[in-house]
């Protein structure tokens, strides 16, 4: 081949649109097409004559790179077999101008070129850059996967939706409430088995028919239809989304009470109404029963909710406060409280809910309520919590205590009068007695020589009776004082108190009486009053045993649970137990004045003192066998 032809041919080769590289058997680059240079970002002058793998090494950043190995293996195969070898798709990254590697995919074919002696003289390494194709392919796979995934999701969703629908259906069928669905025209769309049970109509009987023709009592049908029409026109539905109570009709035309709530919903651009209906006949009965109970209460009853709004009242409350049931229901309870106490009450009310228990309101305070006509009256209020399905309510029993207050005031007045009466007695009754006694005395001393024995005795009788009456007045005044006196409580050594009394008795009656005195329990009491108790009981024991040859008085004490029992026993005349009830009455005497002196006030005084101490008093006896008086004081 002439030189010029050779050059021409070389130019042809270099300009071929394919990607060609011509290698010698020792894998030096002999020739390269322009397209190849461009695809591998190389230049002819820098690669010609160089070892193939020096020019195209593996990407050192890709540890999985196999390009060099695979290509070497293919080229060896071609050299050994003398046959062309088509390689699989290869990832063989290419170094760019800046020294980094770019990802490339290739489809190479290595073809031997023989010399005259049929030995492999060259290998034509022809490649196709499939990087773009490969990328597109990968993208497609990705898209396909995504599609698959979204399909799967869709299927799952459908499955889920079917399940939900089944659940809804199950709920619809098993719901304890009747569920009724009607369309915008008021025609029944659906109705669950409970609705059939409740109303007696099957779905097939009512479906497509106006609801008003089945379950709404005749007298309400017109109202129902007007209400529906009004809602469709204006969107106003005062009965919607609310718990309502009304009467409903069964297929057999019987009526009953239902609780109902209706919710509107939009479906396919049309309104649907879903109604939940419950038979509340039993609940109504219970309510009636409760209401009956409320009405039978003797007090005015007001039941309020947590917000303090009145929920229920009885007739007694209506007549007490002067409001009608309608006026008062729904009002705050504060409406019944005088204005000055209202603010405080709101706080009290909130606190009551924190610790609700049965108790009286405002213990120890004077409470007042006001009527509708704003008149005030004193009240007594007791509160009880009333747990209900609608939350905690509070029942207040309110009693008008005007009458009692008035009675108390009257009693106070009466006591005051009694006090001024005893005051008068004290002053005005004693004075004439003293004059009687004084003038009898004057008579006796100034005219002694003119009296015979009888005359003298008469004067003595006048004097002794004047004194006896003086004693009676003193005892009575003492009794009345004791009733009104405040107790002055002290820890009291009973032994010392009793010893004082016994000493007094010995001084009065001499030391004839044998006294057996145990060690007595101390007590918490008004010692000056209890001293009067001991004085009376021990005095009586001495007195009523005084006619014995050997009088014996025993004084004991004994603890008995939460009280101490003291006793005074004598061996005197005693009394018949059938008169025991009279013992502690004023002016009651079981013995003749000629037998035993006394005014009949002592034991009445003793009883009053012991009762003021919240103790008990009683006696045991048998005629002729002595008597024992017991009294107890709380510990």
């Amino acid at each position: 081949m002439a030189q010029s032809e050779k050059i021409q041919f070389q130019r042809l080769f270099e300009s071929a649109p394919g990607l060609y590289l011509v290698l010698s058997p020792d894998l030096l680059i002999v020739a390269v097409s322009n397209a190849y240079l461009s695809a591998t970002m190389t230049h002819r002058e820098t690669i010609l004559g160089r070892y193939l793998f020096d020019v195209f090494p593996d990407n050192p950043d890709d540890p999985t790179a196999t390009g060099v190995n695979n290509l070497r293996h293919s080229l060896k195969t071609v050299l050994l077999t003398g046959k062309a070898h088509k390689m699989d798709l290869q990832k063989y990254d290419i170094r760019n101008e800046s020294g980094g590697f770019e990802e490339r995919y290739w489809s190479p074919v290595n073809t031997p070129v023989f010399d005259d002696l049929s030995a492999v003289e060259y290998i034509i390494h022809q490649v196709e850059d499939v990087t773009e194709m490969f990328r597109l392919q990968k993208e497609e796979i990705k898209q396909r996967d995504a599609l698959k995934e979204s399909n799967r999701q869709l299927l799952l969703e459908i499955e889920e939706r079917e399940k939900t629908e089944e659940q809804i259906e199950a709920i619809f069928n098993a719901a304890p409430d009747a569920i009724i669905v009607i369309d915008h025209a008021g025609h029944v769309v659906n109705w669950n088995p409970k609705a059939k049970e409740l109303f007696g109509w099957g779905l097939e009987e009512v479906k497509g028919n106006p609801l008003s023709e089945s379950i709404i009592p005749h007298r309400y049908r017109e109202r129902h239809e007007k209400g529906m029409a009004h809602f469709l026109k204006t969107g106003e539905g005062p009965v919607l989304n609310k718990a309502l109570e009304m009467r409903a009709l069964r297929k057999d035309e019987t009526e009953f009470d239902v609780a109902l709530s209706i919710s509107p919903t939009v479906f396919n651009n049309e309104y649907l109404f879903i109604g939940f209906v419950r038979d509340i006949t039993e609940q109504k009965k219970a309510e009636e029963k409760f209401k009956g109970l409320l009405e039978s209460a003797p007090d005015a009853m007001i039941i309020a909710d947590r917000e303090g709004k009145i929920v229920l009242v009885n007739q007694q409350a209506v007549s007490l406060f002067g409001y009608t049931e309608k006026e008062i229901t729904g009002q705050y309870v504060e409406i019944l409280i005088p204005a000055m106490d209202r603010d405080k009450h709101v706080g009290h009310r909130a606190r009551y809910y924190q610790e609700p228990k049965v108790r009286s309101m405002g213990a120890g305070l004077e409470l007042y309520a006001i009527r509708k006509d704003e008149s005030r009256f004193p009240v007594e209020i007791s509160l009880s919590p009333l747990p209900t399905s609608e939350g905690m309510l509070v029942a207040a029993a309110i009693r008008d205590i005007s009458e009692r207050k008035k009675a108390e005031e009257d009693l106070r007045q009466l006591n005051k009068e009694l006090e001024s009466f005893t005051y008068s007695v004290s002053h005005d009754l004693r004075s004439p007695l003293r004059i009687i006694d004084g003038y009898a005395d004057m008579l006796r001393s100034d005219y002694a020589d003119q009296f015979d024995e009888d005359g003298t005795r008469y004067v003595e009788v006048i004097k002794s009776n004047a004194r006896r009456m003086g004693q009676l007045i003193d005892d009575l005044l003492n009794l009345s004082h004791t009733g009104r006196k405040e107790l002055l409580m002290h820890q009291t050594q009973m032994n010392r108190l009793v010893q004082l009394i016994i000493d007094e008795q010995f001084a009065l009656h001499g030391q004839r009486t044998e006294v057996i005195q145990d060690k007595l329990e101390p007590a918490f009491c008004d010692s000056s009053l209890i001293k009067q108790v001991w004085s009376n009981l021990i005095g009586n024991a001495f007195k009523y045993s005084s006619k014995k040859e050997q009088p014996v008085v025993k004084i004991r004490s004994e603890r008995n649970g939460s009280e101490i029992i003291y006793s005074v026993n004598d061996n005197g005349v005693g009394f018949d137990m059938q008169y025991a009830g009279k013992l502690f009455g004023v002016f009651q005497r079981l013995h003749k004045i000629t037998e035993f002196d006394g005014t009949g006030v002592g034991l009445a005084l003793v009883k009053r003192i012991i009762h003021k101490h919240k103790g008990r008093i009683w006696a045991e006896s048998e005629p002729g066998k002595g008597a024992t008086f017991f009294f107890s004081l709380p510990v």
Binding site: Y423, H427, G470
Partner: protein
Amino acid sequence: MEPHEVEILLVEDNPHEAELTIRSLKKNNLANKLKHIDDGADALDFIFLRGVYAGAASFNPKLVLLDLKLPRVDGLEILRQMKEDDRTKGIPVVILTSSKEERDIIESYKLGVNSYIVKPVNFESFTKSVAELGMYWLLLNQPS
């Protein structure tokens, strides 16, 4: 008897009560210069030298015996006026009454009574009490 001559002024509306008191004092020779007045307002006139006693020389007895319940002006009021007046507050005043009422006793002592005697019904005891108080205030007590 003119106010300045009086040693004991007895204010008591009941003549019999008064007679008993005077008799008891007499028994002990204590009633020689005793004036008995039976009305509260008259007693005030006598004590403060007013009304019919206006112009009297002076009133400075050794003892005033007062009942509580009196016509027109009661004993506590007489006591109050006497103890509030510089001329009379040094005069010993003894309430001699039948009332055992605690509030009378407390009120009397608050107003500055010198003694409060509850008259016993028993005439012997009464005589003894009157004699003792007369003795004490007329013979033993040294005026301040």
